[in-house]
């Protein structure tokens, strides 16, 4: 409830003609030297990636945010993420990235997955919520999908047994299931969320998803203030399209998380607006939340009509992660104001603006 009303209240606070007093009166007290500019690795990526990361750079500059970007070019058709990029992320601890295209069936493993494994970014977080002013079929959606990012179906361990028969291994370990469950409950605790739902298919995959559920149940007992329940993945998708307001935080293994996050993003306004990121014990990489459409297609690229909102909101998440809450608030408010005004919206939101027009509107709306 607080989360949903905050953006609306904030809009009122920041209008110059408003006479409502802001309710946040206790200020954020930084440590001396916190204002020094922080380096953030920037990977523009493929397709519409450079366009939307360019948008973020422009907005950051306009806000004079204390971040500077170290740009590295990585493309989906390289075999490995270059070592210098990994070193840079390890040094800076934070990265902002556009989508990396994965060639289909080409024998090259996805660079997105490689990056997550190398840096052990074991939790992927996607926040799907209704933006005020953006009409969707479903209202009252405010779901955070926390997805295990390193194992499960995406282990990449496949082989051909005999010609015409292929096997793929799905790995579930207690170690990874426990840490993702711990992250999910800790997230819920720190963000005042009331319920955590585990998504599984343990009626069919009894041992694998059974192990995942066992870990979730163990961690749930340590957080008695947070409600915990379990739902089978096919029922979950059905409930998402009919009654999405019942979900709060969802914790899932790798593959189901992908589907659930994209479905939730679709019902709440589309993947062009949902922020997200991947986080591990030491590093964090922020990118467009849901994976569908993060590289875009040729037409979007030519006409430069990609939606920068998702990456802008993810960069607001990044600013908060870097402990610059006031910049994060201002950016988020500006973006929400632009969306709710409705004049500058890209095609996926029903409008016809270009990326640059939306960026200019956001810059104008920052105060």
């Amino acid at each position: 409830m607080a989360r949903r009303s905050m953006p609306i209240l904030r809009q009122f606070w920041n209008f110059p003609s408003s006479n409502l007093t802001p309710t946040r009166s206790v200020t954020y007290m930084p440590r001396p030297g916190d204002g020094a500019p922080r380096a953030v690795t920037l990977i523009p990526g493929d397709g519409i990636g450079p366009l939307v990361t360019g948008a973020v750079e422009q907005v950051m500059q306009a806000m004079h945010a204390p971040v500077y970007f170290e740009r590295y070019d990585v493309h989906g058709d390289m075999d490995r993420v270059p070592e210098e990029v990994i070193q840079s992320i390890k040094k800076n601890k934070v990265c902002l990235k556009g989508g990396l295209a994965t060639p289909m069936g080409g024998g090259v493993s996805s660079l997105n997955v490689q990056l997550r494994r190398e840096l052990d970014l074991y939790a992927s977080l996607v926040n799907c919520f209704n933006l005020p002013g953006l009409p969707t079929r479903h209202q009252d959606v405010d779901i955070v999908v926390i997805r295990e990012n390193t194992e499960g179906e995406y282990s990449g361990l496949e082989h051909e047994v005999v010609p015409g028969v292929v096997e793929s291994l799905k790995l579930i370990t207690k170690f990874c299931s426990e840490r993702i469950a711990k992250y999910a409950f800790e997230y819920a605790y720190l963000n005042n969320r009331k319920k955590v739902t585990a998504v599984h298919k343990a009626n069919i995959m009894k041992l694998a998803d059974g192990l995942f559920l066992e870990s979730c149940r163990e961690v749930a007992t340590k957080y008695p203030g947070i409600k915990y329940n379990e739902i089978i993945v096919d029922n979950c998708c059905m409930q998402l399209v009919s009654k999405p307001e019942q979900f709060d935080v969802m914790v899932t293994p790798n593959l189901y998380g992908n589907l659930v996050a994209n479905t939730a993003a679709g019902i709440a306004g589309g993947t062009g607006v949902m922020p997200g990121g991947n986080v591990g014990a030491d590093h964090a990489v922020f990118e467009q939340g849901a994976s569908a459409g993060n590289v875009g297609n040729e037409k979007l690229l030519e006409q430069k009509k990609a939606n920068p909102v998702a990456l802008l909101l993810s960069s607001a998440m990044m600013l908060r992660h870097l402990q610059f809450p006031s910049f994060a608030d201002r950016l988020e408010t500006a973006v929400e104001r632009v969306i709710s005004d409705g004049k500058y919206r890209t095609k996926d939101l029903g409008g016809s603006s270009t990326t640059q027009e939306v960026v200019d509107a956001v810059i104008a709306a920052i105060d």
């Binding site: 028969v165 799905k170 207690k174 995959m205 059905m238």
Partner: protein, 365 residues
């Protein structure tokens, strides 16, 4: 005029031609001979809704003789489950059946009922037509798609083991034979029902060899049907497109796990499992229509159940038997009853009982 348009659209969707191009000739082709069909009423609300179906068929004078079989209370060693060998033989003999919801008995030492049916009858494709019911408003009004799911392998092979404590492996198996079989069925279905596009759903960018093999098989079959557009869609894109704009899809063909999730998602788009028909196709032209909802033990015996799913599934069974005029009549009656809105069961927001709803349908015939 509207009824005709509705009929045409709905006929396209629900009619089943001969599903397997190499199926054996069926002994029944004239509408006057009585056809024997196996009926599994199931548990919970099963018997009530099966009674609805029987009543509607009687009123419509459908020449079907039901052979009822119930789930036993002892494990039959020949089938290793609660379903007896006689029940399975009956389906194999009659080649067509209708199944109500069955509750899975808990415990070990026996196979689940659905698994038994699937393995013994070699039911390799699950077909679920999903289309918005006129008169029952959901958030999505223009859904008109069919999901065809491979039913035998994939992630649901059940081959799991614990490697060491705390590490579990589960095998996902994709074979050329099963993928070709389901792709053939999908394209054949699309052709016989006048559908224009078949989309294969996959995650081959990550699972390159397994889903890659599935896609290769689909592509091979697509070449044999040049008049049908074929496309491949990654599953996360598919989920997103389905919830934003379900009209983009026509026929979807998928491996097991994705099929399970997507077909339930599509059922959710049109109003839930209580309204979705489903049909399982087996080798040799066997068709087992079933209601996919649960047995709802909490409303069993209270005359509150919604028989729509089982009725629509029985209609698809009739089309499989080429009894198209009867199928059309019953289907129109069901859709008109729901569209009118006077008689609706509790799950659709009304207050009618099962018997009232059934009577209303019979009146519409």
């Amino acid at each position: 005029m509207a009824t005709q348009l509705l009929r045409r659209r709905v006929t396209q969707i629900l009619s089943h031609g001969s599903p397997n191009p190499i199926s054996l000739p069926r002994p029944f082709s004239s509408a006057t001979d009585t056809i024997r069909a196996t009926l599994f009423p199931g548990d919970g609300i099963g018997p009530e809704i099966a009674e609805s179906v029987k009543q509607v068929f009687r009123t419509a004078e459908v020449p079907i003789e039901w052979e009822e079989h119930y789930v036993g209370d002892q494990v039959d060693p020949r089938t290793q489950s609660f379903l007896t060998w006689e029940s399975l033989e009956s389906v194999r003999r009659n080649r067509v059946g209708l199944k109500g919801p069955m509750a899975t008995p808990i415990g070990k030492g026996h196979r689940s009922l659905n698994l038994t049916l699937r393995k013994e009858l070699n039911l390799y494709a699950n077909v679920r037509p999903c289309y918005s019911l006129p008169g029952y408003k959901t958030r999505y009004d223009d859904v008109n798609l069919i999901t065809i799911r491979e039913n035998t392998e994939g992630e649901y092979s059940g081959l799991e083991h614990q490697v060491v404590r705390g590490v579990v492996e589960s095998l996902k198996i994709i074979t050329r034979q099963a993928s070709l079989r389901v792709a053939e069925y999908a394209f054949h279905y699309a052709k016989t029902h006048g559908r224009e596009r078949v989309s294969a759903i996959h995650k081959a960018n990550i699972m390159q060899k397994t889903d890659g093999l599935f896609l290769k098989c689909c592509r091979e079959v697509a070449e044999k049907y040049p008049e049908i557009t074929y496309e491949e869609v990654v599953i996360d894109n598919c989920c997103m497109m389905l919830v934003k704009n379900p009209a983009l899809f026509d026929v979807l063909v998928m491996p097991n796990l994705y099929g399970d999730i997507i077909s339930d998602l599509c059922a959710g788009l049109i109003g839930g499992l209580g309204l979705t028909p489903s049909c399982n196709i087996g080798e040799g032209g066997i068709a087992l229509a079933e209601a996919v909802h649960g047995s709802a033990p909490d409303i069993a015996g209270k005359n509150m159940a919604n028989p729509t799913a089982l009725l629509l599934s029985s209609v698809s069974m009739l089309r499989h038997l080429n009894l198209h005029d009867k199928a059309d009549r019953i289907q129109d009656a069901i859709l008109n009853t729901i569209a009118e809105g006077k008689y609706r069961t509790a799950d659709l927001g009304g207050t009618s009982t099962t018997t009232d709803f059934t009577k209303a349908i019979c009146d519409h015939l």
